[in-house]
């Protein structure tokens, strides 16, 4: 009975979220990053299946949310869980995974809105040149045209610190989000199959899941550390080249 009830409790917010996203009527073009990165995440998850919980899916969801907005992260999380389970085996865990990964993507989108990628990386790229120029016209309009050297040096200093902070915060967020995802899935195990064991059962479920969650967090950390900066530059260029809006 708890399996049914918990599925309903988790399923209703998912349906509401999906229909709300539907009503915003995103352009097909803005959806494409979500489609491509979700497909990559699904392939990565299926390929890495033999190694338990070591998979790049969470990192890719974080990247989607971080660069293409909260709704993109949300959608990506839902799609990755739903479609990768079509290949790996659908089950009562699917709605929980959908919700957990959506939250991870949404959080990453929230983070992406707080930390401005454009300013940090492009200013970082120009830190060795004398004049900081706005690339692609728009991104660093506030710093372009400044000829005061002292001011300029300050900008450069701030920029290179900015990218370090951005990198650290995002990678740490990815690891923590993976852990939270794991905790949600362990709770699902407890609620669905072993709720009669009481609190000791929940603690045991979390303890048993810990090594797997650590592996998950490590994989996310490694994948994000490898891809965040180079892919971020590509995403940024793609956004300006094709006029993709954050969702």
């Amino acid at each position: 009975m708890t399996l049914l009830l918990s599925s309903i409790v988790v399923g209703i917010p998912l349906i509401v979220l999906a229909l709300t996203l539907e009503r915003t009527k995103p352009r097909p073009r803005d959806l494409m990053p979500v489609v491509v990165l979700s497909a990559l995440a699904i392939v990565g998850r299926v390929v890495a299946m033999p190694i338990p919980n070591f998979q790049p899916a969470t990192a890719l969801i974080v990247l989607t949310g971080f660069f293409f907005g909260r709704r993109a992260g949300l959608l990506s999380g839902m799609f990755v869980a739903l479609i990768s389970n079509m290949l790996m085996g659908q089950g009562p865990w699917t709605p929980w995974q959908m919700l957990a990964w959506s939250l991870v993507g949404y959080g990453a989108g929230f983070l992406g809105e707080r930390i401005s990628w454009g300013k940090a990386v492009i200013a970082d790229k120009h830190k060795n040149t004398d004049i900081v120029k706005g690339e692609y016209g728009t991104d660093i309009s506030d710093t372009s045209g400044k000829t005061d050297t002292r001011n300029n040096l300050q900008t450069k200093h701030r920029a290179s610190r900015g990218i370090t902070i951005l990198f650290a915060v995002t990678v740490i967020y990815g690891a923590v989000a993976s852990l939270i995802f794991g905790v949600i899935m362990d709770t699902q195990f407890f609620v669905a199959y072993a709720w009669e064991s009481g609190w000791s059962g929940l603690i045991a479920a979390l303890a048993m899941g810990l090594p797997f969650n650590m592996a998950h967090a490590a994989s996310t950390l490694i994948f994000l550390a490898l891809t965040l900066i180079p892919w971020g530059k590509k995403f940024h260029r793609l956004k300006t080249k094709y006029g993709i809006q954050s969702m």
């Binding site: 009527k25 959806l31 009562p92 199959y193």
Partner: protein
């Protein structure tokens, strides 16, 4: 009569594959929900057995074995977890004195019930996967959530495409590293150059050691850009052909307006956005015929009946402290549930019978 293997629910010999998607969806929803309602051993056994038989019949014995092979360890974990961590229950199985752990019969029974339910659900989902192909999925959900349904179908298309592109990129990468020593990702350099050249380039040893990983990230990056640019072109192409033209997306209407062929049509869209004239069509069209209506009514009645009967007759079932209430299951519940769960198989049986009879009379 030779019965061919069904491929993803497309086999014409399977009557269930010809059912309208709405009836099919209702069957799966009803079956899965009914399997989730109760831990009654009869219902669980019925559900598991019929799911296994259906999967074996429609998807092949191999598919069933494959599903069970990854299911097995999970079921064992669920059973063990419940037995070890659940101390409730009155009947003692055995006790480990050293850790002061008591294992009870009730918790073992509970674990087995939960595991059986889980196995049944997963097998029903396996059957669902066999029949709910993406065209049926789109037919059902595109009117409700067009964007989401489209994204899901596109992702499903992009998965094999991504794999194919990855292979292409890796091949190119391998070829380049084999043929040119100056290629940065020269992973196979030691197979091409002899030991002497390796030694003379000792300074670069560190570079070559990390080269395979570097080339891997390089390839991944290429894969991402390639897929992304292609997807965006696909989106543009869709918009240029009037995708979402009737859903109030301004860009699409503009794209239609600028299209010289579609001038006439676009004009009418602007003036009177009548939904009938420009309704989204589905890739595959499913006709709802009288057979589907009968099937739909049958499935709905059986599901409702089984659901209510199971819910009300197995309320007395309890595991702790003593397993009890397993005997009062109403016959209606068992009958309705077994009829509902064997619906596809009964449908096939009916068709076979009809075929045999018609062959006899001739």
């Amino acid at each position: 009569m030779q019965v061919g293997r069904s491929y993803r629910g497309y086999s014409l010999e399977r009557r269930f594959a010809l059912l309208h998607p709405v009836a099919m969806m209702l069957f799966f929803a009803g079956t899965i929900v009914i399997s989730l309602i109760s831990y009654h051993p009869v219902i669980l056994g019925l559900s598991f057995a019929l799911a296994a038989i259906s999967v074996a019949y429609y998807a092949g014995i191999k598919a069933l074995i494959q599903s069970l092979s990854w299911l097995g360890p999970m079921l064992i974990i669920v059973i063990l977890f419940n037995t070890v961590f659940n101390r409730r229950g009155a009947t003692e199985l055995f006790t480990i004195e050293r850790f002061q752990m008591t294992f009870t019969q009730e918790s073992l029974l509970f674990g087995i019930s939960v595991a059986l339910m889980m196995a049944a659900i997963i097998l029903w989902f396996r059957l669902y996967q066999e029949f709910m192909t993406s065209d049926r999925f789109l037919y059902l959900f595109a009117p409700i959530a067009p964007t989401l349904a489209l994204s899901i179908t596109m992702i499903q298309r992009w998965i094999p495409l991504t794999k194919y592109r990855w292979q292409q990129i890796r091949n190119a990468d391998k070829m380049l590293s084999d043929c040119s020593s100056s290629y940065p990702a020269s992973a196979q350099s030691d197979t091409v150059h002899d030991a002497a050249t390796q030694k003379s380039k000792g300074r670069h040893n560190r570079v070559t050691r990390f080269a395979p990983y570097k080339s891997l990230t390089h390839s991944l990056s290429a894969l991402m850009s390639w897929s992304m640019e292609d997807a965006i072109q696909a989106a543009d192409s869709m918009q240029a052909r009037g995708y979402q033209a009737n859903t109030g997306n301004r860009d699409s209407v503009r794209a239609l307006n600028s299209d010289s062929d579609g001038e006439q049509r676009a004009g009418t869209v602007h003036k009177s956005p009548s939904k009938k004239a420009f309704r989204r069509t589905s890739f595959r069209y499913f006709r709802f015929i009288s057979h589907d209506a009968v099937a739909l009514a049958l499935i709905a009645t059986l599901a409702l009946l089984a659901g209510l009967a199971i819910f009300f007759s197995t309320r007395g079932l309890a595991f702790f402290p003593i397993y009890r209430g397993a005997e009062d299951l109403s016959i209606t519940a068992a009958l309705a549930a077994s009829l509902l769960m064997s619906f596809p198989l009964l449908l096939e049986g009916k068709e076979q019978l009809r075929w045999r009879l018609s062959a006899q009379t001739k």
